[in-house]
């Protein structure tokens, strides 16, 4: 620790651009702590709305940065590192934390100071992380979080004795309630004392570290709090052999109802909003190709993605409540055995359920799965779940080709067909998960370890920031990738110009593209018109309906029945079934591809996924057509 004063300005790492360097030039302060230590709550408390989320370049670890404003107006950049149990770099999270703290990452300057967050109700174990962190020699404030819990449950700790023993300042705080937070700001302002001499254990030896942590704790007269009474009471219900699964089922139904029923009026509202503003734009601008690009291309394209925002928000509100309250861990426990049959684990359940609304938020929700292989497997199968963008396509084709009849008294033929398509996606997902988990993403069944946090009330601030954060990621997709794709698709549909006007879609570049891929899709019973639809549906699956409407020269508002008639003309029943199967399997969604790239840290996995799902779609569609013929 003696050499740490010099390390302050040692210049070992060049100060490079950080996400925050526009706002301030100082090196960041790193926030470190084990999972479930309330680290994120503290981060929110310190930085409020001044946060950014990105990925560490080259890895799949999310980088949360923010700015804490001190009373004297200075701005301190804070970097929230992933939750870790130790600093030995084994998982990707630990590697990133290790590299950042040691100043080994070229994209992040070595932290000026460290805020180490520990759960004061479980201090003896959490103190183990203090040993490797203090050994770094960086000025460190040890934050004993959840002081309110400790007090309420009759625990106590002598902060001064602990500080003396550790040779580092210690603050007892409650990030949730804001108690003691001023001590953290004082430390950031430099008012806290510098580190002193201390003795640390051999870091590689876990039992020695635990022994040391126990000694330090007893020196600080740490008295562990009584077991969390309410948590035990609630668990007796939520993990009851009969009541537990019933509560679980109720939660699942509630999530499903919310994303399918409650979100619908909101989504209709967003859709209307885009239609009305689209009409305004049309009325306000002179008739030109530019207007067509702006209204039909950009505005409609972006609208087709933003429509999903209400679903995304409601979904993350739900997941936020489940995770912050502690129920998500119980749900994962209950779902684990079933999920394990497909090679997955309990934590994959909620993301996969979310994928029935939209694969994009589902893939973002896989952040709760710590095991990287399980997380990737979940990401790779999520787009097989029947998302809401497939529904309009299914509805149209089923209505056009399947006569409405009653089957077995209760189920109509059309409803049965729809159910069959849901089942098809589900079976493909399970089979793919099994294949992946027994080959390229194989991991031992013993690697599933799940910590059960105590139940807590979620805070509005944490829920609000999470919603903001996730919707920003979602909207950024709509604002960048989707914008680009819709503009490109518009250009394909409107060029080459014929006498200064856009050509009929059949003669456009998209039309030629449709003809170009016709040999490839002919065996499936699709002609070039469907081919164009397959190309444009890459923006969002339901776009194929608008495209077919345009090809058949129909007013988009009235194309319901007329469009059914038109596609009956162009598809045989075998081809129609093939089209349904194709949509069930193919990854026709640029947003999903973009978000998989973001979450897996490269193009390798989305490319694999696109190729695999595309091949499966082709083969499935071919078999479906041959079956009918």
């Amino acid at each position: 620790m003696s050499d740490c004063a010099s390390c302050h300005d040692c210049g070992a790492t060049p100060v490079l651009e950080t996400p925050l360097s526009g706002a301030t030039a100082t090196r960041p302060v790193a926030l470190v702590g084990p999972p479930n230590s309330g680290k994120t709550t503290l981060f929110n408390r310190l930085t409020g709305m001044r946060q950014k989320v990105a990925n560490f370049p080259g890895v799949t670890v999310e980088q949360h940065t923010g700015i804490a404003e001190l009373s004297d107006g200075r701005a301190v950049p804070i970097i929230d590192l992933p939750g870790i149990y130790s600093l030995s770099p084994r998982s990707e999270d630990e590697q990133v934390a290790h590299d950042v703290l040691k100043g080994l990452r070229p994209d992040t300057p070595k932290p000026e100071a460290i805020l180490l967050v520990l759960d004061s109700t479980n201090l003896s174990r959490h103190l183990m992380l203090a040993a490797p962190i203090l050994a770094l020699g960086t000025p460190t404030l040890i934050i004993l979080n959840m002081a309110d819990d400790l007090r309420n449950r009759g625990g106590r700790v002598d902060v001064d004795a602990l500080a003396a023993k550790l040779g580092a300042p210690v603050a007892l705080v409650s990030a949730r309630q804001g108690d003691g937070i001023e001590q953290v700001f004082d430390f950031l302002a430099g008012a806290m004392p510098k580190p002193l001499a201390r003795e640390l254990p051999v870091l590689q030896d876990v039992p020695k570290c635990r022994e040391w942590a126990g000694r330090v704790g007893s020196h600080a007269r740490y008295r562990a709090p009584a077991p969390p009474k309410w948590t035990h009471r609630l668990d007796r219900i939520f993990l009851h052999p009969v009541a537990g699964p019933l509560v679980f089922l109720a939660v699942v139904v509630a999530v499903f109802q919310t994303i399918f029923t409650a979100a619908v009026p909101l989504m209709d509202g967003v859709r209307r909003l885009f239609e009305i503003t689209g009409h305004w734009l049309t009325a306000a601008l002179p008739d030109s190709l530019f207007r067509s690009l702006l209204v039909d291309g950009v505005w409609t394209g972006v609208g087709s993605v933003v429509v999903f925002l209400p679903q995304v928000l409601l979904l993350f509100l739900f997941i936020g409540i489940l995770e912050d309250s502690g129920y998500l861990a119980r749900a994962a426990l209950i779902a684990d055995r079933t999920m394990a049959k497909a090679g997955l684990q309990g934590k994959s359940f909620i993301p996969l359920l979310s994928a029935y609304a939209c694969a994009v938020p589902a893939i973002l929700a896989t952040r709760t799965i710590e095991n990287k292989r399980d997380r990737f497997a979940t990401i790779l199968i999520a787009p097989f779940m029947t998302c809401s963008a497939r529904l309009p396509v299914y509805t149209l084709v089923i209505a056009a080709f399947i006569p409405e009849r009653q089957m077995l008294g209760v189920l109509s033929t059309r409803a049965a067909a729809l159910l069959g398509l849901y089942a098809l996606g589900f079976v493909a997902a399970v089979a793919t998960a099994k294949a992946l988990k027994s080959s390229i993403l194989k991991s031992g069944r013993t690697q599933f370890v799940l910590e059960m946090p105590s139940y807590r009330w979620p805070t509005w601030q944490s829920l609000g920031l999470r919603l903001l954060d996730r919707s920003m990621i979602f909207l950024r997709r709509a604002g960048t990738v989707i914008l680009l794709v819709t503009v490109v698709l518009w250009i394909l549909a409107h060029l080459p110009l014929q006498g200064g006007h856009a050509p009929a879609i059949a003669d456009s570049l998209a039309g030629r593209g449709g003809r170009l891929i016709e040999p490839l899709i002919k065996p499936l019973g699709f002609n070039w018109k469907i081919g164009i639809g397959l190309i444009t549906s890459l923006a969002a699956r339901e776009t194929i309906i608008g495209t077919l409407g345009a090809i058949y020269g129909m007013d988009p508002a009235s194309h319901g029945v007329a469009l059914q008639k038109a596609i009956q003309h162009d598809l045989t029943p075998g081809g129609a079934l093939a089209l349904l199967v194709f949509f069930a399997f193919a990854m026709q969604c640029i947003s999903t591809i973009a978000v998989v790239r973001r979450e897996t840290g490269g193009w390798k996995w989305p490319a694999f996924q696109f190729a695999y799902m595309g091949a499966l779609a082709w083969v499935g569609a071919f078999l479906a057509k041959s079956l009918v013929a």
Binding site: R125, V449, L450, M452
Partner: protein, 93 residues
């Protein structure tokens, strides 16, 4: 692979899996690859630690174990690899 006290064969090869709800035992060793054993140790599953079996998912797998102030759920496959010395008088809650 980590095996400490060699006297586990005095009682037979009891593992965490043998504990019923409310029963406690002292951990003797973890028969798992180094990284996995280390992760478990960081969570408090250290040789000599007292472990109490708690509630479980329906069907008894995975089960929650109380150790070192935390509650950690383990699958049956993991619990089976953790040898324990049973306490003489198992307590029920």
């Amino acid at each position: 692979m980590l095996q400490l006290n060699g006297n586990s064969n005095l009682i037979g090869d009891a593992t965490l899996m043998d504990l019923r709800r409310g029963e406690a035992a002292v951990l003797e060793g973890i028969d798992l690859p180094g990284d996995e054993a280390r992760r478990l140790m960081e969570l408090g599953f250290l040789p000599g630690a007292r472990i109490t079996a708690g509630l479980s998912a329906p069907g008894g797998d995975p089960r929650v174990f109380r150790v070192d102030g935390s509650e950690i759920a383990l699958r049956r496959e993991t619990a089976r690899r953790m040898t324990v010395r049973l306490e003489k008088a198992p307590r029920t809650r």
